[in-house]
Symmetry: C2
Subunit: 213 residues, 2 copies
């Protein structure tokens, strides 16, 4: 197994997986090289269900260390939080609780191919920029065309684009859904009181279906 994943924490909802990638697009992109494990933090964008696209600086050795077709792992992770046993109402009754950590993570395994041609680079930058600007700024979105053409051309010479052909997606939503409903709710309220609204909201969407034995 490439990530420990008990069945009750497996995230199998494609919409939720897409939402995690959209909410936390800065992936930790990991590769194995002759120099050992290499990791870089790079915003990635899904293009359809089979591809991730991104770009790195030309000065980033990644595209020199990693050959086309090599396996890489892109790790996406949304909010996380420590969960204290104190937040479980049933603690007072039986004290059979230990701390844990809640989080949501998506691991995308795939084969990377670097792209050095100007057209591919402009496309990758354009798609990433359009996606983020549309979500953040809407009608006032910054566009590549806002910058002088010679400046943008220079910027493009300083990057390398890449595509990752997805071979496997493993996703985990560890959200206390294996707890008793009253304890799940207690953990949600504790996290809300600590300002951990993101993970609390994810937990509310994944309430326990029945009372644990």
């Amino acid at each position: 197994m490439t990530m420990y994943l008990p069945a009750h924490f497996a995230e199998t909802n494609d919409e939720e997986i897409a939402a995690i990638l959209a909410d936390a697009p800065l992936a930790a992109l990991v590769a194995v090289t002759d120099e050992g494990l290499v990791a870089n933090h790079i915003p990635l964008l899904a293009e359809g269900a089979d591809t991730l696209i991104g770009h790195v600086a030309l000065a980033n050795d990644l595209h020199r260390l990693v050959p086309d077709g090599a396996s890489v792992l892109a790790i996406f992770r949304r909010d996380d939080a420590y969960v204290t046993p104190n937040s479980y109402p049933t603690k007072a009754a039986h004290h059979r609780h230990v701390p844990t950590w809640n989080y949501q993570a998506v691991h995308v395994h795939g084969l990377i191919t670097f792209q050095h041609d100007e057209k591919a680079k402009r496309r990758a930058v354009g798609m990433l920029t359009a996606w983020h600007e549309r979500h953040l700024n809407g009608e006032t979105a910054w566009r590549m065309a806002d910058a002088p053409a010679n400046y943008m051309a220079t910027m493009l010479t300083n990057i390398v684009a890449f595509r990752i052909a997805i071979t496997r997606v493993i996703a985990k939503s560890k959200l206390s859904q294996n707890r008793e409903p009253i304890d799940h709710q207690g953990a949600v309220e504790n996290l809300m009181s600590r300002g951990k609204a993101g993970i609390a909201a994810a937990m509310v969407k994944r309430r326990p279906r029945k009372t644990a034995p």
Copy 2:
């Protein structure tokens, strides 16, 4: 290079590195196995400057796939955010800006050793729990002794502890400190207005020292 790290983004302040580990202790722990890249999300605790400690579920194959002494990479990352060119006041003057992403990351490379003895497991769990409970709950901290002894003994049989002997630490604070001061401030204000207080606070601590050329 195991992470692309321009000199102006290198994080060399030991206190800041420690703060990142303390604020974002849920590491993505990456290892290379015969099955390929393996990653798990595990809260780690620094013990002194040379060691990280943690534990995994006994059911987690990590301790079976990765031999003692193997190289692993623990990736810690604090807040991150997309930075829009619209947030730079000088954009209106010359439009020579492109989007970027800000974040802080610490990569700890080291050699892992698993510990199956009850004493080591109790120590690892105790240290991690004490650290998190002290920070979160203070005088009302949950303690292992709060749980029934036989329950805790069973829980300990279900985990494996580990230590990582640190061989290398690489840290990056990508906080727009290479921007002109007025643009850095504009980005801080934009991020604050978007509720990105964490990354904005990190940026305020790392203001540009002089006007960029």
